[in-house]
Every structure is written in structure tokens, then in C-alpha cells.
Symmetry: D2
Subunit: 190 residues, 4 copies
């Protein structure tokens, strides 16, 4: 009835994405009564203000509708060049319009990320928080889910086996549940 | 003979882009012996590591070749959501590969930007500097060209008339000339 | 009875500080039933972990007690070198200890700032948000109070007369009231 | 004759500072013909513009003189609250004055840092780069010396024994030598 509906977005487009594995791991550990859909960003065209009309491209309409109907977002982001990946940023640029009244406004968001190196997307995640300040989204503060050395963390089937890391992710998942529940009606109660 | 060859890249795709007007203004004020080409980023697909092979998509090959043959880059960037625009970040993500040995390595770069609001891209420019730290590019420090209130700055023909702003841009242009000349062979002399 | 108790902190130590004028302006515009105290940071020693014992220096004990008993913080910060001022950062470094269980944990905070230049502390404010992510403080998102050209904004008596700016500050003040009320018990309800 | 003269600054004040150990390690590995002095920041008062006159406090005069006479700076910085430590930022705030003509202007700088956690000061180092953009200092780009898990890296005598880490630091030291030599006269040649 008032179960949470979340939307998962993965910022990496490659087939064997570690971030998609991480997102899937989080989703599987969420309480079963939370419904989760995922959004695809690979067919969204590059943002062009000339196309940002009342009738934007279909993949943009789809993404905006998915965000609008979700109680909160789960965003799994790789880090490219010490910052946010261009493709996912492009999707968020589209979703962020019209400014100050977008579907991202007061939307609860939980960020996560993994990377091959030892810093695991820490810089990208900080940049995302700056992005979602503009959109006035409610990004969960703690815990932060930053997973270094992705290649050692997931097995060939994309399963994360490490026990202590799973325990940490359980803490994260519990916080997500709490955060999303607490903030899901923030916009309408504005 | 050893005249500078620069490459201009505009991060906005819309037809009437103020950043393209700013880039054009800078290019026109450069000494006439400096050759400037421009790169288009609108047809570059979203970055996908599965496509980042020895034979990447044609628009990516074109961009990388243009950057490789330029002595330095002039990048005009709008600010989207307090950060870099996704489309331009996507182009740079492609150009940045392979990591540590990309065409951006030790490439001199001058950043500029304008925006409709009162902060004129200051946040996006800081994020770009973080991006180009990863690529080990030589980004000019000062002066910073940050132009607020774009709609008041350019006339209907895209001409920037304001005298004191033109004088400031002249200072910027002189510094660009000096910076690019000083750093253009940084990579080969590694 | 359950009236809000706020603590104002000014990050500039000079006598004629514009940030202190801005903080005073905000405080005067708050509803009269909100009680506001101010904290002094000028006598706080430089942070040294060897002094960060169960019995820290007296000015540190005072600051921590003031923060602990406040429902929320109003922080007025200048920008030094595109970032947070060292003196105020030093005070916050002391307040942030012990990590994960400090008086800043889940404390609601509203940031504001002014500066002589045209960017009015925008960069410092972004850095503060990163700082308060570590402490898991609830920093108000919007509106952001960023006041450029401080010397033109305040008259010789430190009064801010500009009507439209006062109206904007009223919006900010209303949002502060709402934010502090909404989040003031976040820690105990953890 | 034209041997390099460097100034080392440690941003942590505690006696057993890991950052001081890291700074010492780097200094010991520098070529013996490079002279290195160190600066103390613990007695520098909090920045106050009212004291920033032609006759500033003695510890400030000392720091500015040390920076002025050095060919370059080695800065070892801990990370406090995901950002620069207030005490060291305070020292740099003093050194950065007068704006646009300070002793930091066009001064070559190499940053390093270590921390107890797994991210080893990566966020603080990014903030320092933003700070030194304002001062127009030439901060070395690569390699970045970021040392996580400090407690495991240094033995009881403060010695860093790990062989592969020492090899990496040798690469860093070679790059410092090259960078400082290349940029040491940047200001006078302005």
C-alpha cells in the first residue's frame, strides 16, 4: 500500500559493469516489500537545450516519468577522470530540467560506487553530491558505499561474497530504507 | 613554421550557445598567426568501455586525432547542475583513454565559460580542473575567464561589445598565447 | 517551551566583518521566539590531536557545549583562497571530534556567506558542504545565501538596506526556521 | 650554486604525526644536493585581517620569508573532515596575502599526504589544489602521493620500510626534482 518504490540507475554502460553488480547486490539485500525498477540511460541523446521542449526525446520522457513515479533513487556510479561519468551526468542533466521544478526536486537519493582502483569512486561521489545540491535532492549522508578494487570483490558470476563487506552493505541498505521512508513525501509536503 | 595550432571545443550543443560566442570571441582576439580548428562533440556516442577498443567509433577517432595534432585546447564550458555538462564530459571521457597515455596527457588547456546566472560557470570550471588532473593536462591557472549574465553580454549577432570585458579577455588571450607556447612540447620532452 | 535555540558562528575575526553583518541581519529577521546565541572562535587554539583528550582546552569545551545545546547552527563564512577560512575550519575540526559521535552529528546547519568579490563565497560554501558530510550534519540545501560585492551591500552602520536582497533573505530565514524545526531532533531519534 | 632550496611544511601538529614521517621520508630520498628547510606553523595566530598590516605577527613574517626564499614547497597534509586541516589552511591563508602578489604566487608546490583510513587524504589534496589555484601556485600534477593506512606503513621509529611503496616514492621524488627545477624561476620570468 505505501510500500517504497525505488528506481535503480547504473552509470556504466558496459556489459560486465561492476557498478551494475553492486547495484544488484544492494537491491537483493533490500527488504522484499520494497519494489525496485531500473532505468536505462544508454539511448538518451546528448543534452541539447534546443531539444528540451515540451516534447523532449522519448528516452528522456521515459527517464523523467520513471524518476517522477519513484519514491527514491539508487545511483551506482563509476568514476571517470576523477569525476562523474559523462553518460550518467548527461541523463541527470536531462532529468534536472526544468530547473527548480524537476522530477529530482526533493527526491531522496542514495549514491554508491565501485571502481577498479584503490579509491573506489570517492571523488565521483563527492561531485554527485554537488550536482544534487543544485537539484535540491535529498542525498543520504551516511554510510557512504565506496567499494575499491572491484575486480577482487565480485566473482565470475557477479556475486559479492566477502562477508564483512556484505555486513557493511546491510548497514547501508538499512539506512537507505530508513532514509527513503523518511523523505519520500518531501516534495508534496513542501 | 612553429606557429601554434589550437583546438577549440564548445561544451554546449544548442544553436545559439553563449559559450560558442565566447569561444569565437577569444579565437578572434588571438594573434592571427595562431591557427585554430574547432571540434564537434554532438555525434560522439555515450562512453561504453565495450566499444573502447583499438577501433573505436569514428567520431571518437576524429576527436582524438584533432586533440593529438593540436598544441593546446581552448575549452568553453557551460555549467549544468553546478558541474560539468554531461555531453562535454562524455567527449573528454573518450579522449582520456587509454588512461595515463591519452592524447590529453601533458596537453596545455585553457578553460573558459559563461552562463546566464550570476556565477558564470565558476563551479563547472573547478570540476574541469579536477578532471584534467587525472589526465595530467596542463591547465592554465590565471586569469580565469568566467562570464556571468551571458544574455546581457552578447548582442543579437553574438558580438561581445563591453569594452572592459574585452580588455580582460585580451589579458586572457595573451596569457593563453604564453601558456600554450611554453607548454606545447611538454609531452615529448617527458 | 519547544522554541528553537540556534547558535550563530561567524568565520571572520576582523572587527568590521561583512559576514558578521550578514549573520546579524539574518538573526534579526528570524521570528522573535527563536533564541540565538553566538559563539566566538578567536581564542580556540590550533587543533593538535595530542591536546584532544578527555580534558581539551577550555575554549574547545565551550564551543562543543554551545553546539551540543543548540538545535541548529547558523554559519557565516568568508572565502579565503577559494575555500574555507582556516580559523573557522580549525574550530569545526575541534567540534568534529570524536569522529562519528561529535556534537555536529545530525545537527541541522544553515550556511551563508558574503565576500567583496563577485562570487560571494560560492566556492567556500561548497567546501563546507563536503566538510559537513563527514560529520553527518544536516545542511540546508536551498535557498543558498551567497552575497557578492559586500562593500556595496552594507552601509556604514552594517545595515543591509537593499529591498530585493532583504526579501530574498526573508525567504532564506523562513526556510531556516522550517529546516531547523524539521531536523532538530534527528540525533536523538537516530 | 643553483642547487634547489626547498621548504617542507607539515600540516599536523601532533608529536607522532604520520605526515611528518612521510615528509621526512621524502626529504631523505631527495638528491643530497637539494637543501631542505622545514617551517613550523604551530605558533601562527588565527588569521585576522585587522592584523594583516605592513607589520604582521612575527610567526607570519617568518613563514612568508621562508616561503619567499625557497624554490619550492613540499606540503604534507592530513585530511580533517574530508578537507584541509584548519591549522595548515590558516598558515596558507596568511602566506597568501597580499592577494595576487603573495610569496605563493607562481611558487612550485608538491603535495603529499597520509591518513589512518583507506583513502589517505585524497579529498584534502583535491581541496589544496583548489586553494593553490587562487594563489596561482604551480602544483605538481603527477604522481600523486596518497598513502592510506598510515599506522601500518610506518614502524615504531617512523621508518617506512615497504619496498614497493619506497619505489613509488622514489618516482615521486624524481618528479619533484624535475618539477621544481623546471618551475623555480616562474615568477621572476613573469
Amino acid at each position: 500500500m505505501d510500500q517504497l518504490q525505488l528506481l535503480g540507475i547504473c552509470g556504466s554502460l558496459r556489459r560486465g559493469s561492476y557498478n551494475r553488480m553492486l547495484l544488484r547486490t544492494v537491491i537483493e539485500m533490500l527488504p522484499s516489500e520494497i519494489a525496485v525498477e531500473t532505468a536505462e540511460i544508454g539511448d538518451i541523446p546528448l543534452y541539447n537545450a534546443d531539444l528540451d521542449t515540451v516534447d523532449p526525446p522519448a528516452p528522456v520522457r521515459r527517464l523523467r516519468a520513471q524518476i517522477a513515479s519513484a519514491d527514491g533513487l539508487l545511483i551506482a556510479s563509476p568514476e571517470y577522470n576523477y569525476s562523474v561519468p559523462g553518460g550518467l551526468k548527461n541523463a541527470i542533466d536531462w532529468a534536472s530540467r526544468p530547473a527548480n521544478n524537476s522530477v529530482l526536486n526533493r527526491k531522496p537519493i542514495a549514491i554508491m560506487g565501485t571502481a577498479g582502483g584503490r579509491f573506489g569512486s570517492v571523488r565521483a561521489q563527492l561531485t554527485w553530491r554537488q550536482v544534487f545540491l543544485f537539484t535540491e535532492s535529498y542525498v543520504m549522508l551516511k554510510p557512504e558505499l565506496i567499494v575499491p578494487n572491484a575486480a577482487q570483490v565480485f566473482d565470475d558470476n557477479g556475486i559479492l561474497e566477502n562477508k564483512s563487506l556484505r555486513e557493511f552493505i546491510q548497514t547501508y541498505v538499512d539506512a537507505v530504507d530508513d532514509w527513503m521512508t523518511r523523505h519520500k513525501n518531501s516534495r508534496t509536503s513542501k
